[in-house]
Symmetry: C2
Subunit: 230 residues, 2 copies
C-alpha cells in the first residue's frame, strides 16, 4: 500500500484496481500542473477522475503521496533526457552541465508549484525528504546518474575522492534545486547562470587536488564525508 515505484505513469494497467490507481494519479498530476498543488483539492481530483474522495485515499495514503509519485515521474524523465548527453559528451564540464541543464528543462513546467513540493520535502519525517528511506530508490538512481557522469568523463582523480564524487555532485544538485526553487528571474536566467559558472569552478577545484598542499585537505574532506555517512 502506497509503495510507489519508479515506473512511467503512462504504463498500461492490468487489473481494475491498477487502472483506478493510475487514473487517479494522472488526474492529480494534470491538476497539479494546471492549477498548482495548493489549489488542487483532493475533492477536485476525485471528482475529475470520477471516483470518490475515499477511493483516492485507498490508493494514495495522502496528498503528499501523490506528489511523491510526481517526483518519481520527473526522475524517470530526467534519466531519459540525459542519455544523449552521456552518449555524446566526454569532457567533464559539458557532461555535468548537460545533465544539470536537462534537469532544469524537464522540471521547468513544474517550477511554479515546485515550492510546495520542496516545502514538504524538507520535513525529515516526510517520505518525500530526499534523505528518507522511501525516496532511497529515486536518490540512488540520481546518484547513479552522476556516477556515470564521472565514470565516462576525462577526469583524473584520486580513487577515494572519485568514489565520493557522485554523492557530492548529487548534493550540489540539491543546492541548485534549492536555488531554482527560489529563482523567479525571467526564463530562470539566474539558475542557468549558476549552473554554467559553478560547473567549471567545480572542475577547476577537482583538478586542484593534484597539488600536494591541497591533497591533505582533500583527504580530510573524504574522511569527513565517510564518517558522516556511517
Amino acid at each position: 500500500m502506497g509503495v510507489t515505484t519508479l515506473t512511467d505513469v503512462t504504463e498500461s494497467a492490468t487489473t481494475k484496481g491498477e487502472q483506478t490507481r493510475e487514473l487517479i494519479l494522472s488526474t492529480a498530476l494534470r491538476l497539479f500542473r494546471e492549477q498548482g498543488y495548493g489549489k488542487t483539492t483532493m475533492r477536485a481530483i476525485a471528482t475529475e477522475a470520477g471516483v470518490s474522495v475515499g477511493n483516492a485515499y485507498y490508493y494514495y495514503g495522502s496528498k503528499e503521496h501523490l506528489m511523491q509519485a510526481y517526483y518519481d515521474h520527473l526522475q524517470v524523465q530526467h534519466v531519459e533526457a540525459v542519455e544523449s548527453v552521456l552518449a555524446t559528451e566526454k569532457a567533464f564540464v559539458p557532461r555535468l552541465t548537460g545533465v544539470l541543464r536537462a534537469w532544469l528543462e524537464v522540471s521547468a513546467p513544474y517550477h511554479e508549484f515546485a515550492g510546495t513540493f520542496f516545502k514538504t520535502a524538507a520535513e525529515p519525517k516526510s517520505p518525500l525528504s530526499p534523505f528518507s528511506d522511501q525516496s532511497r530508490p529515486a536518490r540512488e538512481a540520481s546518484v547513479e546518474l552522476f556516477r556515470r557522469v564521472v565514470e565516462g568523463s576525462d577526469l583524473k582523480l584520486p580513487a577515494d575522492l572519485k568514489a565520493e564524487l557522485p554523492e557530492l555532485l548529487w548534493l550540489m544538485q540539491m543546492g541548485i534545486v534549492l536555488f531554482w526553487v527560489h529563482d523567479d528571474s525571467k526564463d530562470l536566467r539566474r539558475t542557468k547562470a549558476l549552473i554554467d559558472r559553478s560547473v567549471p569552478l567545480v572542475d577547476r577545484l577537482l583538478r586542484l587536488t593534484r597539488i600536494p598542499g591541497v591533497r591533505g585537505v582533500t583527504n580530510d574532506l573524504v574522511g569527513l564525508i565517510r564518517s558522516i555517512k556511517s
Copy 2:
C-alpha cells in the same frame, strides 16, 4: 500588523493590545515546546491563553507567523549566548566552533519540532524562508554575527574573500541546520561531530587561498557569489 521584531518575548508590554499579543505568543511557544508544532491547534492556543481564536489571528496572520516569532526568539538567545565566546576566543577555529555549538545548545529543546519549522521555512513564498524579505532582519543579524567571528579572529585573507566570508559561513550554518534537523543520533552526536570536523576543514581551506595556484579558483568563486547576489 504581523511585522515581528527581534525583541525578547519577555519584554513587558505597554498597551492592552500589546499585552494580548504577547500573551498569545508566549502561550503558543509554550504549547509548541510541550506538544510540538503539529499537535498544537490554534484553538488550543486560544483557549489556553483565554482568548478567542479570531483574536489570535488579529495579532498573528497565521500559525506560521507564530513560528516566525519563535524563530526570532531563538535568534536573540543565540546572540546572547555567543557573546562570551566572541569575547574570549581569538583563534578562528574555536571561535567559529563556539558560535555553531552555541546555536546547537540554544536550539536543542526545540529539536523535535524543528522539522516542522523547516518544512514551512523551505517554501520560497513563506515569510519564514531564510531567504525571504520578512526574515531579512534575522538573516542580517545572523550574518553580522559571522562577520564578528571573522573580524575578531586571526584569519589573514584576501580582502574580497574576507568580505564574502560571513555570508558563506551563514550558508554553512544553514547546511548544518539542515543536517541537524535530520539528525536523530543520541545527544546530537553526529551534528556535533560534523561541526567539530568541518570547522578545521574550512580553516585549512581558507588558508590554502594563499597558494598561487589556488588563488584563481578563489577569485572565480568570489566572482560567482557576487554575480549571484546581484
